[in-house]
């Protein structure tokens, strides 16, 4: 039990089912339920990058969102920094959320088009530190925008004025402004061009050491995951089929499905 408390993020037997039929007033019969996440357990140590890889429909996004309680799990336990997240009352959960932030896949859909970038990035501060003066909030917003590689004039502009890569930087700035400890990144580069995606991956790598971040990194792409992960979990049908050190999973995979995923990665000819 002692180690259970001291580990940074520990998930036990987390499950989520969705109804294929029925509706809000009608319970679907057992065989009509779709098990998105099936008794998944994992443990993440501080400072590491734990990657979850799988194809569409394997449950990786549901898992990511349950970690932050953006989706309510049906059963299981999530312990973050020694606190049982599923048992927390709403007010304490909200306080806990500043420690754990999410970066989303689609930089076009995840930013409010009617808000200025300064407001988008500063909003978490306004919520979690309401007593902060407006000038302090602006200066912290500015500092984080500059850290992720955006110019100061971004403050007053709107999301549509930015390219996909810049928008993803805005999303990262918003996630980082509260100085969280855990970042859950759901496909952060899959909507980006190759050259821009590489910039964002390297930025995430730099920020990790600079801000002492722990990442849970969700992706469908093994080459992308290989750039950041310390450990990799391969997910299929709601379960982890293989979990291990990144090097081992990528180069000495134990499970047949992992080998299959690795074999279909399109490779460049070697010069």
């Amino acid at each position: 039990m002692e180690s259970f408390i001291s580990s940074f993020l520990r998930v036990r037997e987390l499950s989520k089912k969705y109804n294929r039929s029925g509706g809000p007033f009608k319970r679907a019969p057992e065989q009509e339920q779709f098990i998105a996440v099936d008794h998944v357990s994992l443990e993440v140590t501080q400072g590491e990058t734990f990657a979850v890889v799988g194809e569409s429909g394997c449950g990786k996004t549901t898992l990511a969102r349950m970690l932050l309680r953006l989706i309510e799990p049906d059963s299981g336990q999530i312990v973050f920094a020694g606190r049982d997240l599923l048992a927390l009352p709403a007010a304490e959960l909200r306080a806990q959320r500043r420690e754990m932030q999410m970066i989303f896949q689609d930089p076009f859909a995840s930013l409010d088009p009617r808000m200025r970038v300064g407001e988008i990035v500063g909003e978490p501060l306004a919520i979690h530190e309401p007593k902060l003066s407006k000038t302090d909030r602006t200066s912290r917003t500015l500092a984080i925008l500059e850290r992720v590689g955006l110019r100061a004039d971004a403050l007053r502009r709107y999301p549509h004025e930015f390219s996909g890569g810049q928008r993803q930087r805005i999303g990262i700035a918003r996630a980082l402004i509260l100085r969280p400890k855990l970042i859950v990144a759901d496909e952060p580069v899959s909507a980006l061009d190759v050259s821009v995606g590489a910039q964002v991956l390297l930025l995430l790598r730099e920020l990790q050491s600079e801000f002492s971040l722990t990442y849970v990194f969700i992706s469908h792409s093994l080459p992308v995951v290989a750039q950041l992960a310390t450990r990799i979990a391969v997910m299929r049908g709601g379960k982890f089929v293989e979990v291990g050190e990144a090097e081992q999973v990528l180069h000495q995979p134990a499970h047949q499905y992992t080998r299959e995923l690795l074999s279909v990665v399109p490779a460049l000819p070697v010069a």
């Binding site: 390219s163 990665v265 490779a267």
Partner: protein, 381 residues
């Protein structure tokens, strides 16, 4: 599945690529010859030129990979070859399509009536997201039948049905007659893309000279009566990697069996390495490098291609090096080489004029003034 396998030429290793494949295309007839194609589009900020003096060729049975990032103009290039440019677009230059049994057509000068005869018959296109390209309230078989009936209004229902099932079989859709009666939402992403492929080739299949002889009884490798152009715009980007591999193999087999010329548009160099014989790299509307896929990917001569390769994640960690900066807006192109602001090896004269495509040997060209320069290798290290 078995059918595909029987006719699929096994993938050739890059080591033997040159000899083995060149031989296969020795008698290859030229299908598409694009010369100086330029597209101008009206925007709120004035005219922009997403396609700028593009020249390329595709032979029957040949596959050309068109590589570029968003904003490079690759999709506008494809749409101009389908006559689907947005209203107000101006096209100049020439794109000569030469189907074997009919007169060549300049795609840059067609009127809409001509386009309706050609589109779907001589030129087909498949798109990135098959869900948004299919009609959700129509059975997929009926949608394929529409593609056939639009070109052959006189043929009877049985012939159309035959064509629908034949196209689905060619696209390796299991249980074609069952699938033809289903709606798009009942199909997986991979199956939907197969249905799109079936739709793109359906009219061509129905047009074959001996439609009564099922394709499996014809001599393998015999092209249909007319070679056709198939444009695939990021056809696997929305698919899982395992499904992506199946679709790439399907397209590869189809172009060999049907003698299709394939214009494969993608941002993924790994995918290009799998499907293309030759590759053209596009940046800010211009082709910056073109050549055989092995040459371009192994010994890239343009700094942009070199940068793209270095920025592509591989299974090895720590090798990633991004290209600094972003793709320039078409309204704010630099006066000289459009890659100059991001280029690690730029010289002062790069800003003076847009470089010509320079010969790098073996039908390999690159739009960089350093090509042929004695210090090229040293500078690009």
């Amino acid at each position: 599945m078995e059918r595909t396998r029987r006719f699929c030429v096994p993938r050739l290793d890059f080591g033997v690529y040159d000899g083995a494949r060149v031989d296969q295309f020795k008698n290859m007839s030229e299908l598409l010859d694009v010369r100086g194609l330029t597209v101008d589009l009206p925007t709120a900020r004035g005219w922009v030129r997403p396609v700028n003096e593009v020249s390329l060729r595709i032979g029957a049975g040949e596959s050309l990979g068109l590589v570029g990032e968003s904003g490079s103009g690759k999709t506008m290039m494809a749409l101009s070859l389908m006559g689907l440019l947005p209203p107000g677009a101006r096209v100049s230059g020439a794109a000569i399509l030469s189907p074997a049994n009919s007169a060549p057509e300049n795609l840059a000068e067609l009127n809409e009536a001509r386009w309706q005869r050609l589109r779907g018959l001589d030129v087909g296109m498949i798109f990135q997201e098959p869900m948004t390209s299919l009609n959700p309230v129509m059975r997929v078989g009926d949608q394929i039948a529409e593609a056939i009936a639009a070109h052959f209004p006189d043929i009877n229902k049985e012939r159309i049905n035959y064509g629908v099932l034949e196209a689905l079989r060619l696209a390796a859709v299991p249980e074609p007659s069952l699938r033809a009666g289903q709606f798009p939402h009942q199909l997986s992403g991979g199956l939907r893309q197969r249905v799109m492929i079936a739709m793109a080739i359906a009219a061509g299949v129905s047009d074959s000279e001996e439609p009564e002889i099922p394709l499996e009884f014809r001599k393998p490798g015999t092209p249909l009566s007319k070679p056709r152009l198939l444009i695939a715009d990021e056809p696997t980007t929305a698919l899982d990697v395992t499904v992506q591999k199946q679709i790439l193999e399907l397209l590869d087999g189809l172009r060999r069996r049907l003698g299709l010329g394939l214009l494969f548009i993608t941002h993924d160099l790994g995918v290009v390495a799998q499907v293309a014989d030759r590759v053209a790299v596009m940046y800010a509307g211009r082709i910056v490098e073109q050549g055989r896929v092995g040459d371009v990917l192994r010994t890239p001569r343009h700094p942009y291609t070199q940068g793209l390769i270095a920025a592509s994640p591989t299974l090895e960690r720590g090798r990633l090096s991004p290209i600094p900066g972003i793709v320039p807006q078409l309204t704010e192109l630099p006066p000289g080489c459009s890659f100059e602001p991001r280029c690690p090896v730029r010289l002062p004269e790069c800003r003076l004029a847009v470089p010509e495509l320079r010969d790098a040997g073996h039908n390999h060209v690159a739009r960089c003034i350093l090509v042929g320069n004695a210090n090229e290798v040293a500078l690009k290290q």
